[in-house]
């Protein structure tokens, strides 16, 4: 039986004349932590936005748990989105709401839970990310790493089946970056959630991933376990992993 949580088949997307994705195929299975690697501007974040239905592909099919996202009407799409948590590169916390209200927002708007239960869930999730004492603080008062953790807690409040991470450790110092990586691993294991992590930071990628995919020129050119990825014969993948200036990536740019 196909256990795919996300299934993308022949997906193409272009912004005007600029092709971003070109006949892309990718399946993400239950409880996997798939890390999508790729250069800046290669379409990694776009991939996440297609899954959550914020963007619609020009061609191909995007399915979440067997249902075609790109054909869903808005009410159905909104209901599907409640099963997906998204953590943004710059956290995207609502700046006019404090931490407590940021976490309460989806619970108050989308569920019939009583305030007591909402408070209990918020306390639990903040505790999970080690941010229990920030409940009354505004996002502007928090550091980048703290905002990321709050963003992660917000993504967890609806107990999602799929969590999407857009550059979770970008712009953080190595210690906080490791804390975030460990949080991603422990929380996805604790909640049994499937996760897709978009990054170009190799240390984080190998630490988090149970499977890795490399996006290059609009397509997935390698899709395998982290060990197999390290041994990859693909010149683009090897160059990307090593960070070398010699290889097809820069040659192509020239």
């Amino acid at each position: 039986m196909d256990e795919s949580v996300v299934d993308m088949k022949g997906v193409s997307l272009a912004f005007g004349a600029k092709k971003i994705l070109n006949d892309l195929n990718l399946a993400v299975h239950s409880r996997e932590r798939l890390v999508v690697l790729g250069q800046s501007g290669s379409g990694k974040s776009t991939l996440l936005r297609l899954i959550v239905g914020i963007l619609r592909p020009n061609g191909g099919v995007v399915r979440f748990k067997g249902r075609e996202v790109s054909r869903m009407r808005r009410p159905h799409l909104n209901r599907m989105r409640q099963k997906i948590g998204m953590v943004y590169q710059y956290s995207a916390l609502i700046s006019s709401l404090n931490v407590r209200d940021n976490l309460a927002l989806p619970l108050e708007e989308l569920t019939d839970k009583k305030e007591e239960e909402i408070n209990r869930i918020i306390d639990e999730k903040l505790d999970m990310v080690g941010m229990s004492d920030t409940k009354n603080q505004m996002p502007a008062e928090l550091s980048g790493g703290m905002r990321k953790r709050i963003g992660l807690a917000r993504a967890l409040v609806m107990e999602p089946e799929l969590i999407l991470f857009d550059e979770p450790s970008a712009g953080l110092d190595p210690v906080i970056s490791s804390v975030i990586d460990e949080l991603i691993i422990s929380l996805t294991e604790k909640t049994d959630a499937t996760s897709i992590i978009v990054t170009h930071e190799m240390d984080s990628a190998f630490k988090i991933a149970t499977r890795m995919a490399m996006l290059y020129q609009g397509n997935i050119i390698e899709n395998d376990t982290p060990d197999a990825f390290r041994r990859s014969k693909n010149a683009v993948v090897s160059q990307f992993i090593s960070g070398s200036t010699q290889g097809p990536i820069l040659e192509k740019k020239k």
Binding site: R49, V52, I54, R74, P75, L77, N78, R79, M80, R81, Q82, I84, M86, Y88, Q89, Y90, A92, L93, I94, S95, L105, P106, E109, L110, M158
Partner: protein, 263 residues
Amino acid sequence: MDGGILLMIKRFLQHLSSIVWLMVDASQEMADNMIRGRLPFRVNTFFEQTDRAGVGSVPLVALVSFFLGLTMSLLTGYQLRPYGTERLVPGLVAIGFSRELGPLITGIMVAARIGAAFTAELGTMTVSEEVEAIEAMGIGPLRFLVAPRVLAVFLLMPCLVVISNVTADLGAALICKWQLGIPVRYFGDLVHSSIESRDIVAGTIKSFLFGLIVGTVSCYKGLAVEGGAAGVGDSTTSSVVIAITSVIIFDTLCNIVLVAIYP
């Protein structure tokens, strides 16, 4: 026809259709929430916006209208005095404001004050991915962000127009008393005898319409921001320009229609 004009018409129609779809989608999101037995939007947010758009605009609207009423009665009074018809001034100011200047001036002031604030706020939320995050959570940003703002301006605009009319009449009454020798009580009688229900109906229709225009244009421009801080600035400027221009154009159209159907 010139290609530039065709392009302008095409862009105008694109914006117009986007604004219509924004309202359709916002209504759909609210209806979906109501079907699920929930309120169409957060009541707290609605009251926050009414406070901001309505109560916060009272001093500006009152002050500007007071001085306009004062100036209008002063200038018309001096023109009419040689003919001994200065007692027409109270009616002229009252009809002028309740039918035309009240809604128009209030519409322009609200577009500049609240329209700009809505666009800048939503624009900043758009570039910092807050709007997208709300959408990705399945909350529906149009219901959550746009509906309370548009409804607040739509419902508060007639109240602001009433304040504009009253303060303009107050300014006119002062000039009539001190410069034209018309006592305040007589001023009131003259206003009462000259103003008709059609003037009030016309003003009310316009005020609701202008509220809708300012609310939708400012929210649409806020959500359509692209390109960071500079984009927010450009969009805010363009929002104010479009809203004020639309208010003036729709004021003229309203006058044409109202004069034809309700002379």
